[in-house]
Each structure stands twice: as structure tokens, then as C-alpha cells.
Symmetry: D2
Subunit: 452 residues, 4 copies
């Protein structure tokens, strides 16, 4: 069989000669080259996040070309395995962007699949971009990153599994975060959370590194810290804790669910890596990179640790979250992402101002908590925080949480927080209208239950 | 400005090195090359109908690459004309397959548009394929063909305009066809139809070339003949009439609306070109090439005549019918189209057998008419042919026509045809189930009105 | 057969009971109703341009539902006509948005097609919106409008055909516009242009209504006036000419190619209709409504005249330009369209300021011409206007025209215009960056050829 | 706020009145109702696998309507959470079929998400169909089933986690299957495989239930059996083992990766459920239902067990594998799926005949193993099985495996299998051409290395 793969795949100008006038053809080929061909070539040459975001058409072409390489697209292939990416209808293939073989191999998530050269290339590129975007936006001292086709919680499980195997420990030292996913993750890999209670520091709920330190013992499999949660819970002091982790030789995992959008948090993580021990940092793709729910990026400081994570995954996986991340990050590009991060900060400040005003107007106040994404405001009885949250939902405001719930303090990260409150986010991608509408509707709601 | 257009647009293997193992990459690039790149290169090199039909993905890639060349896709272009293909939303562009500038220039339909190199290339290729498919399927003695973004009727008008200008004549000698579109076409370009009545030859309605000959005079702008109509109307004797046209030096235009599917008709036209005069042959894209309604192919035997047709069109035009034709013909390929033509003949025979049987059963008979596409069956009173057609429509059988209508004989091509009848088509693309269902429903209908 | 059509097509809430909690379901159904169902219902109830533009998803749903009604989508239909919208592949159908039967009937463009209930509904709605948008944006005294699947030039031909038949005249009185399409249109329907030369009025080229009046005689089939052309050619005085048309009883057709974007022009046309005679007003869909090239809207003041136009079209037609217009106008909505019109005016002023500056800097000046869309600037020798236009094209500025060309004055609308000039447009949809880039590149070009 | 959700969402016939003639409208609405509306209504009413497969258009409409319900589609929503399904571009949303919020809630995979009513409905329906298809195709005695957005291996991990928690055991009794995914799954949830070696029974490798029984002890968390693997490994005797599981009160999990296509295997599982204990049965969506890799269906016989599985998942998840399964199964319908199962059996027999012939011709023989999907053929030295597999791959035959590999017996499920062999699958969806091409290429390869 002739080795067609040896030839460059090219469309040279000669092909089009004689069909249209030369100057029009030249003009057209410049556009073709600049908008479609060059960006794709540059992506594969540099394997970095492009400065300028791509158009949907360019991304579509990339995905089409790559998915066309998988064996299920080969009309001359004889396909006689038990898994051959046979698909019932064009729509079903379209729903997978043509990556019908998924990604990964039975034993190792990131390995190339012989039947899916295209999906394998796609995945490698996605991983390189994931690594690059994290490096460019604050943690240049990581050693690698993988896009995992699992949301943050399940990815935490994968990483904890590796920590468990490395240490033989049974416990995860975990400064209290009232979020079910990480708790499920801990339980999935048969570990126990050793919850470190929060302390009240003014309005803020903070974890104390010295409590983390004293909780560590021979049974400790890992420390799991958290950078992003609803105020009044503040970011864990990952720098101090990473120093402890280094000293105690305990794996340290940072749940950085939506921290990429915060230069301050990213900066803290970078310092933590420099000054102490951080084994893995896990970030949500949807919450940071404006793509659909379902993926996460696991970054690491040690290639061997990352390799073990890839070996922990049981089997192959859906390509969808990887493709979605890749498309989202290419669509953004470095410049647009930087802009969005700046806008987030501006909208955060807007939210703070606006919310402060109506808090004062209605006898409430903003909690004093160090956060760059979300804000909490007191809710005073007879107002019921949880009801206000529910009413906002039915008036088409999504996202705010009223806490504590009447039947439980889970969610507050504290057993007896002194006041009810409502949290509101100005996360990346929020728009001014979201903030103004929310504040307006909240204003109306508060008016209905005056304090006296 | 650097001349990027001089470089071949290529994706060489080196780009992907180090991302996945070499043997997987090689295997993948073979598929890429064979399924996507090669067909497109070969199309531009050969500019002929491919043997094998293309997948939708390959066609999509071709259209995407071509439409990406138009200036409206150039992010660096400054666009300051009155027409810049600015589009309100991605969907709207998608509805034009990205060819937002349409095709053609103000003065000449087939000329390249400076703002639309891609659409211009696309149109040229469509024209080459149109010419090639007609040559391959029977009329290899044409000199060129254009895909016109107008259905058959309007294309007849364009051609008649040229004939009118060439001759200075006012009349179109037109063997009677009871079809409004060509009559509208004649009228649009300010000509008068000079209708040649049909003769009854057994069951068949035929036109007599000698009547055509005697109708020609100094006012004759063109002869318009027809190859395909509902039986009992038979194909005009285009060979005899082309000889008359040659002798009398009168432009001869053949309305070959759905004749490409019939090797017999195509053969007749070829002979007519050899033996006499044929200026233009017009065929529907939808009826012959299984694409949506809206386009036609004008073929000619003289390049100057065709050039004049292209100059007759007033302005630029929608690219859609051209794109649809191009996609349809690439999707078919030569082999599949040949198969479809063979199947048509088989299904025609099946229809004839089936219809013959139920005709006999219900006291009717098939009209003896020379046709290879449609069949007519007598309808005897008290059965009302027109009502049977209407009832078939409401019982979800589309296509049959019951004639004559109660209030008019228009449609029969004859003033007093001796019987009512129903016509049914087994045109290209018909499936066995269409025929069997139709016959079954017709059987039920006839049962309800027994003859005695 | 049961009459399913009698039942309302509904998805009631009960269908979803028990699947998800009630309050989430309620919340979801509100969105479904408001974003998808309501807009579609309201569109059919009111048959007017919506205030707010639709999302692509809503438009897509409308098109999907309508195209699903055509008989070629009916899996139970037996299809045995010669035209049954059989399609080779899903892509080909997609390229027609599923409207594979096109629009219109053999004899009348706007009539419903029995095989295509959906396309027929789609076309009717498009026509109602076309009428409504023209009424809302200035000419509320029209009596109807049709979207024609032909660009402006060919639509002018259709209208002239009707005028020709009504009057029996042979000439079109035509204040000089150097544009090939309308001249082709006149010729297509076998009329002769009787060109009324322009007069020089300062810098402006204007037509003199009294010359129009004196050109009218027994051979006059129509007067064709023009509202939009490149400066220094100014808008014809359609009010004065409409009065003449009324008095002389001559059909008056206004080529309003891209005039909808100009409130001033629309106002003039409204007055012309009130005060005189206007039979038809023709506007481009692409130049006014940001949709792909290929359609136009013919508006009329007399229903009978419009009906005749619809009868002039020979056959059925591609649905694509109609669908594209419908999608574009729904995407815009009244509010966004109004905004775009305001922006156009702002950008026109910006262009004027910017161009004025660099004209002065390089020893040129802006021509004093009354226009709200385009601007012309002198080009003085040794600079060659036509070369500057060509150089702008190769430096990726599309649209500007340098006139007169070296070998012809066609394009200037005048035989010996006293200066060379360059025209630049700030047409609807232009963006600030287009203007600034153009001015910058022009500045660089002029610098290279200083005047002294 | 008015409760719009209380109104049925309906498009009644009245909406369209006056636009097109009544009989055409009636005809069209029948098609609309039958092809789009009825199937969707029936799906929600019955919540069962439809008899007839759906067209892609109908599926697309369903997905569009459901995804339109999620809050991120609500233009009036104010979105101020940390996760609001904000998406960078239309393409990115399209890659998720609009289900940008994914599925599930933080604590429970199958719970409705308040922000995603549409995704929640979609997921519920997918689960109902998954349950129904399994019941219809053989295991009507299950109590429920969930579509899990994880491939088989990871789903095994979820189920084992539940078994581990229920029993407190540490070991998984596992009749030897040399497949990395289940081993990774066992390890992920911190269990140890207790491998039960296979016995050689003629050519076949079988597991002995009595060895399973004797391996069970106080540390046993679960028994994991396997129905589908490459011959010569035969299906585990799940009936006998389920009886042991019942007697010993040990959770029994069946890895039924691609067994749904085999009526014989499904029948065995049904009997196992009746006669013994089966806690969960896990099947791949891609290998059974012709959809892309990435999902699985976990069926159970106890609702509480299933509920626990849903609680084991850590967080929300990508909707993609669920959507892909839903689309695939709707596209198939019951009838087509039954046909495919019958065809699989026919092609299996064809493969057996063909392969038998060339085996004999080249001095090899088929291994006598009870299987209805795959076949193994001896490979005798000097032929090297593993090389033959590799050569088939490069000659574009995907799927065959040559074993044992030169450096390991992993894959054979046996330490010293007496012969090398090649396995070939005739799995569901295989086509005749795949088999004939494979056999032909294998014939050529064997010819090159004659045995003597």
C-alpha cells in the first residue's frame, strides 16, 4: 500500500487556475490562508493558546478535519471489532462532533487510540492548551495539565485515589466546605473526610492552617483545600497549608473550582507551589472557560503524579467535554479571556456598590469577607433568607442562595453562623444587566418585608 | 503586503509529530487524504463529475473552504461598499451556505465577483460539472453549460430573449404544451406563442414537424420544443424539427425539463444537435438531479450563444440553487446517477405492470403512448378523473393528475381528447413503495365507483 | 381518514408530570413559552414584524416546523409526480432549509403549492413582514409587497413587463444611471431605455424632472427612477416625477435598491405616492436587510398591479432568498433595525469628518452632494482614481470606486465630469473599524503620490 | 407573575387561517402532527421506546425544545450564580446540543437541576427508555435503569462503591477477564480483585462457579461477572453464580458490556435475576446501541441499590453521553433494533462460514467456543498472531486481535493457552462488506506465510 501519509496535504494555488481572474483568486487565497489554514497550522506548530480567538467556522473546520481521521470515517476500512463507532444516524455523530470513538484507551485515559487518530490528536492539543492557559493566567510553575471528561467532583476522586495509593492513608484532611461533590468524591475512593472546622474572623469564615497541621497523622492520605466558595467562607490559606504539606510529606490537592478567573487566587496558588507542596490543582471547565458543564482540568507539579491520575481512570471516555473545552478556549483566545477577567472585576465592583446601596436602604449590610467573585448580604428576621432565594428563582433570577436553610446549616460551613445571608455572584461572563436586574428584583422583595 | 497566495495551503505531517504515535498518525492521515483532501484536489484538477459520490462531510468541507474565501469572511477587510454581505446572524449566513455575496456581476451572470472569489470558484466548478454530467449522460456534442439560479421557466425566458435579439422575430413556434411556465416565459420577453396543435395518433398526442415548418415565417424568433410532458402528450420529434431549424436558420430551443433521466431522450437530443440546429437545451436541476426546486442548466452548442444568455440576466443572483445543484451532483457521482437511471426504468416497468393489472380489473386500460417516465390510464364515466386526482391527494398520494378538469381542457394539450385519464409518474428517485402504495390506493378508489 | 388537522397541535404541561419537580417544570415551561412558542404564535396571529428580534434558535424552529409540513417530509406519502422534492442527501435538503419544493406555482409566483403547505405559509409570512417593514419604516401608504426570489435587476424586469403590457409602450424613460443591471432588465423585456442625461448642479449630478416630462410620448411604457446611487449622482426627484407620471398616466417604477435604510428617501417615496403616481418600488433584500444577495422586495400601491407582477414570473422558484429574508428580518426585529438605521447615520457623519480631514491634508476635497449613505472625494492628477480603487482592493478595502475609469466614463452618469473621484459608502451595518481602517489606508496611499 | 406554565403550549390551526387554501393547510398539518408533534407527545405520555425509529429532524426538534427550557436560554433571566452555563459561542453550545448545564445535582446524579428543567426532563426520559429497551430485549425483571455519562469501566466503579459500602468487604471476586478497565475500576474504589482463574474446556476458557463460591469469604465486597469477552473466553455462568451470590448474600454485578445484542445472553441474565441475586447489570451504550463512546446503562433489581449508585457520583456531569444515547435509541426504535439483532446473527454465521473456509485452506481451524458475537481462529507458527493483527490494522482492517502478544499473555485470560489465535467480531451493526473484506485481506496475509 502506498504511504499517502507521507505527502503533505496541500491545496496549492495551481488547482484553481483558469477558473477566475488571478487578482481575485489571490485576494481570496489570502483570506483562506489567514482565517482558516494559518490558525490551524499555528496551533499545531505552537500548541499554545492563540492570542486572538477563533471564529466558529475555523473551530468547526479543525474539528471536522480531526474527526475525519478516525477510522470510522474511512470508507475503505473493514470494521470488525466489538467497538467500531458505528452510529445510527448523522445526527448522533454530530452530537459527538464526529468523535465517535471517544478518547483514551482501556488502561490510560490520555493514551492515543489506534482507531481514533483524530480524537487522539484533538485530546493532546486540548491538554496542551489547558496547560498553557493555566500557565499564562497565573500558575506558570505547573508541569502539565489534562482535560478530564469529568466535572470537578469526579476529578477530585481520581486525584485522591492517587494520593491514597501513594500514602496508604485513609483520611482526607479537609477544611470545612459544605459542598456535596467533594464529599462524594472522598467517599467514592473509600477515604474519610477529616473536617477542619472554620473559625469566625469578623464576618468571615476562615480555616486555620495550624488546625490542618495538627490534624495530620499517619492515616492522612491527602489535604484537600479549596479556593472558591460562597462567602462568608473565605479562600483557604493554600500557601501556609502547602508549606505544611511539604514539611509533613502529605499530598496536597487544591480544589480551584472557579479560581482561574481570579488573578489573586491564581497568584496564591503559584506561591503555594513555589513555597510548599501542591500535587494537583483541579478546575472546572464550565465555571472558568465558559463551556458546558462536564469537564475539568487537572494540573500538576509532577509528571509522574499526573501520569498516575491518567492511569486511574477506568476505561475510555466521552470526548464531548474535551471537545467543548477545546472549542471554548479557541473561541476565547488569550486576549478575550484577559478582557473577560478584567470585566469580571469591574462587574464585581458594580455588584458590590449596588448591593451595598440597597442593603443600607433596607436595614441590611454586606458581610465583610475577602472575595473577588461573590458577595454576601445579611438577611434579618422576619425576613427568611431561604425564602428570598426561592422567590428570586421564581422571578427568574438564578444563582443567589439564601442561607442557612430552615432545616439545616449545611451550606454555611459553620454550625451557628450569627446571621442569615444571601450570596450573589459576579462570576466571569456575568453582564451588567444580570446585576442590575438582580438588584432591582431583590430591592422589590426586601420592600415587601420591611424590618420594622 | 506579503503575497500569501503564492504559498501552497498545506497541512504537512510534521505538524502533528510528537502528539500521537507515528503508526496511528500515518493511518489517520491516509483517511484524511482519501476522504477529504483528495476528492477536493481531484475535483479542481479534473473539473469533472467524480465517479463516486461524495459524503456530506466532504461536500460541506468544500463549501466551507470556498465560502471562507469571500471577502465578507476576512476579519482584516475594511468593508465600505453599499453591498458587503453583512449578515444579521450566523443562521442567516448558514442559510446561504456562507455564499452571502451571491453569484455573478451586475452585467454578466457568470463573471467572477471581486468580492467573492469563493462563490466565483464555486460557480465555475458547478458549471463545469453541469456540462460534464450532460455530456456523460448523452449529449457529448454540447459546447458548454451553465447552472442558472432560476427554474426552467425563467431560464427559457433568458434563452428566448437571446433568440429574439438575434432574429428580430416576434413569435415562438411552439408545438402545444399546456404548461403555464413556458407561456409566461414567452410573454415575459415580449414574444407571442404560435401554438402548433397536436394530432391524435392512436392514443398519443403528437406534434407534426411539417406543421412546425409551415408555421415559420419572417416573424419567427424561435422554435420551442419539449421532450417531457404528461402522456398522452408525446415527446416532440426534436430531430426532425432541428433539421427544419437548421434549414430555416431559426433558433431552436429544447425544453428538456426532466429528460436527462431518459437515455432515449438524451440520445434524440444528441442526434438533433448532430443533424440539425439546437441552440439551447434547458433542464431542471430538481427534476433531474434530486436537488431542491430553483435551478436549471442551460446547455448550448455555441459558445457565443451561451455568452449572450449570461449577459441577458439582469444583475447578480442568489447562489443557493447553484450550491444546491453542486452539492446534489457531488453527492450522487457518476456511478450512483447511472444506477438511479437504471432503477427509474425498472420502476417504470413495475408501474406499468401494476397499473395495467388494476386498469383491467376495473374496466379501464392504459393509454398506448411512447414514454419512459409516466403512464396514463383511462378514466371512464361515471368516474371523474379530476376527482380521483383530488382524492388521491387527500389520501396522501402526491403527483397524479386527473384530466381533463371539469371546467377546462388546459392540461391535456388537445381540445377534445376522447377520454378522461389519470397520469402517474415513475420519475427518477421514485421508490417501489411509492408505486405500490399508489396502486393500492387507486385500486380502493376505483372500487368505490364501479363502472356498471 | 381521520382529520388530524382539526386538532390543535399542543404540548400541554400534563405530558411532563412526574418526571421532574413541579416548580422546576413550571419555570422551564415559562421559558419554552416565551422564547419559542409565543413568538411563533404571535407572528402568525399578527403577521407583523416583531418588536424584538428573534434568536437563531427560534427562527430555526419556525423554519423546521414549516418545512416539516411539506409533502416530501411525509413518510406515509406515496410520491409519484415528476417533481417530488426527492433529495440526494440530508446536506442538500439543509442547503434549502428543507424547503425542497421551492415557492410558487407554475402560473403564479405567490400561489400556494399543494405539495408544499409549509413553504407556502413561509412565503405568505415573509410577504406580510416585507410589507410591514416597509410600512413601519416610512412608506405606510403602500398596498402590499412581495419578496421576490430574484435580485433587484431581475425584479425590475418583472415590473417593467407589467408596465409594458399595461401601456403597450416600447420605451422606458430613465434618468441616467450607469448601472448595467437595470439596463439588462429593460432589454430582457424588450424595451428600450430612453436615457435622460444628468445636469451638473455644483458638484452634484441631478436629473431634471422637466426633461423626464418632455421625454414622455405615446411609446413610453414606464418611467424608471432611482433613489440610491454613488455620488456625485443624486437621488432623482421622485416626488416631482411621480406627479408627472400621474398627470401623463404613465407607470412609475422606483428603483429603491438600498433606500430603506434612509429615512429621508423613504419619506420622499411616501410623498411621491401621496402626491403622484408610483406603481412599484423595488428594494434589495441584501442591501437593506443584511441578508445574502439574491432577493428583493417589490412593493406596490395597487393590488391589481402587484397581482400582475406575480403572474409575470415564469414558473416556480427557489425558496432560498425568501427564507434568507425572513430569517434576517426576524433576527433583526423592529427595534434593532431602527438602531441600525440610527447607527448608519452616525457612521456616515464619522466617515464624512474623517474623509474630510484627510482630503484637506492631501489637497483634495469632498464633493458637495446631497447623500446620506455615500461620500465622494476628488482625486486630482497625477493621482489616478481608478488605480487608487484597485490598490485599496488589494490592501483589503472592499467597496470604494475610483471613477472615471481610464477607458470609459460609464459609471459616472455623466460624459465629462470635471474631476476624478473616489466614492466610499457608510451603508447600513458598517462598523467604525471599517471606516477608520479605510481612511487610514487611503491616507497612506495618497501620501505616496503627493500632488506637487 | 402570571403562571404561563399553566397554559398548554399549542399551535392551533386557527393561527394559519387565511394564508393558504384550507385543503393544503389541512394536508400539511397532518404531516406536522404525525411526523413531529405526535411522536414527541407519545414519547412523553408513554415514556417507552417507540416502535418506529424517529427521523433526525424529529429528534432534533425534541432536543431543541428541551434545551430551550433551561434557564440559560431565558433572555429575561438574571444570572448571577457561579455556574450559569454561559457559553463563548453558538458552536460551543451546539457541541452540547444546548444542554449547557449538564445533568445531575451536586449530591445526586439523577436529580432534577433547578437551572435545567429541560436537561432534567431529557435525562428522565433517557432513563425510562434505557429501562424499557432492556426490558423489551430480554430482562423484563429489572426494577430500573439509569443512563450514566461514564463508559462501562467507570460505571462499574460506581456500582462497586455501593457494594463496598453495603458489605464492608475489601475484595471483588472476579473470574479472570484480562481487561484493564474493570481492574482500574476495582482499584479506584479501593478494592482488590480476587481473580478466579479460567479452566480450559476443549478450546474454551471457562470460569468455574464452584471456584467462585469457594473464594467468597468475610472480605468479599462483590462478585463481578462478565458476559462478553473475546473467545476463547466464554461467558461466565451468571445463573449459577447468581445462585451462589444469593445464598452467600454477596452483591453480584454483571458486566454485560455488549451483551444486549445477544438474546441468549439477555436470557441468561433474566434467569440469573429470577433464580439468584443480581444487584446491577452494566452495559455500554456505544457497543449496544450504536452511539458514540462515553455512556453506559446501569440496570438494577432493587430501587434502593440504584438510588445509592446515583448518590455515589460526585457532582454534576456532562449531558453529552445521555443525549447521544437518547438520540441513538430514538433513531433506532424497537423495530429497527430488533432487525439489527437479527442481522447480527446472520452476519455472525457468515463470518463463521467464511473464516472456517480460509482457516481450512491455510492449515488453521476455528476454535470451538460458545459465542454469538466473535470467533477465534488458530494461528500457527511460524505465523505470529500479534503481527497478523498489526498488519490487518495497517491494511485498514480494524478490530481483530492477535494473541498472545509476544511479551505478555495478558489478554488471553489464561497463562498458557495452547495456541496463538486471532479474534474477529461480527458485532451489531457490522455489514457484509466488513466481513468479506476482512476475510479477503486475512486470506492474502496468510498466503504470505505458508505453514510448510
Amino acid at each position: 500500500m502506498a504511504r499517502k501519509g507521507d505527502q503533505p496535504v496541500k491545496l496549492s494555488k495551481e488547482l484553481f487556475l483558469g477558473l477566475i481572474p488571478q487578482h481575485i483568486l489571490d485576494r481570496g487565497l489570502i483570506v483562506l490562508d489567514e482565517t482558516l489554514i494559518k490558525p490551524i497550522k499555528r496551533l499545531f506548530e505552537q500548541r499554545k493558546l492563540p492570542k486572538e480567538g477563533w471564529s466558529d467556522d475555523t473551530i468547526r473546520l479543525l474539528l471536522k478535519v480531526l474527526s475525519a481521521i478516525d477510522t470510522d470515517k474511512d470508507p475503505k476500512a473493514a470494521r470488525i471489532g466489538e467497538r467500531e463507532a458505528r452510529i445510527t444516524s448523522p445526527l448522533v455523530s454530530e452530537l459527538a462532533a464526529g468523535f465517535n470513538h471517544g478518547v483514551g484507551r482501556s488502561g490510560v485515559l490520555i493514551d492515543a487510540q489506534p482507531k481514533a487518530a483524530g480524537a487522539s490528536l484533538m485530546y493532546q492539543i486540548a491538554n496542551r492548551l489547558a496547560e498553557d492557559v493555566l500557565k499564562k493566567f497565573g500558575i506558570e510553575n505547573i508541569k502539565g495539565a489534562y482535560v478530564i471528561p469529568l466535572a470537578t467532583g469526579m476529578s477530585i476522586a481520581l486525584v485522591l485515589k492517587v494520593a491514597r495509593d501513594l500514602t496508604g492513608g485513609r483520611d482526607v484532611v479537609y477544611p470545612r466546605i459544605d459542598h456535596k461533590s467533594p464529599l462524594n468524591a472522598i467517599s467514592l475512593v473509600d477515604l474519610k473526610p477529616k473536617i477542619i472546622p472554620c473559625k469566625l474572623d469578623g464576618d468571615a469564615l476562615v480555616s486555620d492552617p495550624s488546625n490542618v497541621e495538627s490534624a495530620i497523622n499517619g492515616q492522612t492520605a491527602a489535604i484537600l483545600t479549596t479556593t472558591t466558595f460562597f462567602p462568608p467562607r473565605q479562600t483557604d490559606d493554600v500557601i501556609a497549608i502547602s508549606k505544611i504539606a511539604k514539611e509533613k510529606e502529605i499530598p496536597h490537592i487544591i480544589n480551584n473550582a472557579y479560581g482561574v478567573q481570579s488573578p489573586k487566587i491564581m497568584n496564591m496558588i503559584r506561591s503555594a507551589i513555589f513555597k510548599g507542596r501542591v500535587d494537583a490543582i483541579i478546575q472546572s471547565t464550565d465555571k472558568n472557560f465558559l463551556c458546558p458543564v462536564g469537564g475539568s482540568v487537572i494540573a500538576g507539579t509532577d509528571e509522574e503524579f499526573l501520569r498516575r491520575v491518567a492511569h486511574s481512570y477506568a476505561g475510555r471516555a466521552t470526548a464531548a467535554p474535551v471537545v467543548q473545552f477545546l472549542a471554548a478556549i479557541l473561541s476565547l483566545g488569550e486576549n478575550r479571556y484577559r478582557e473577560l477577567i478584567q470585566q469580571q472585576q469591574e462587574y464585581y465592583n458594580l455588584l458590590k456598590d449596588q448591593l451595598g446601596e440597597i442593603a443600607e436602604k433596607h436595614g441590611e449590610r454586606l458581610l465583610k469577607v475577602d472575595s473577588s467573585i461573590a458577595i454576601a448580604m445579611t438577611i434579618t428576621k422576619p425576613r427568611i433568607a431561604h425564602e428570598i432565594g426561592a422567590k428570586l428563582y421564581t422571578s427568574r433570577v438564578t444563582g443567589p442562595r439564601g442561607l442557612p436553610k430552615q432545616d439545616s446549616t449545611f451550606g454555611t460551613c459553620y454550625d451557628e453562623y450569627p446571621t442569615q445571608y444571601l450570596t450573589i455572584n459576579a462570576a466571569i461572563g456575568v453582564e451588567e444587566t444580570d446585576i442590575r436586574t438582580t438588584v432591582k428584583r431583590l430591592d422589590e422583595l426586601l420592600k415587601k418585608t420591611p424590618l420594622s
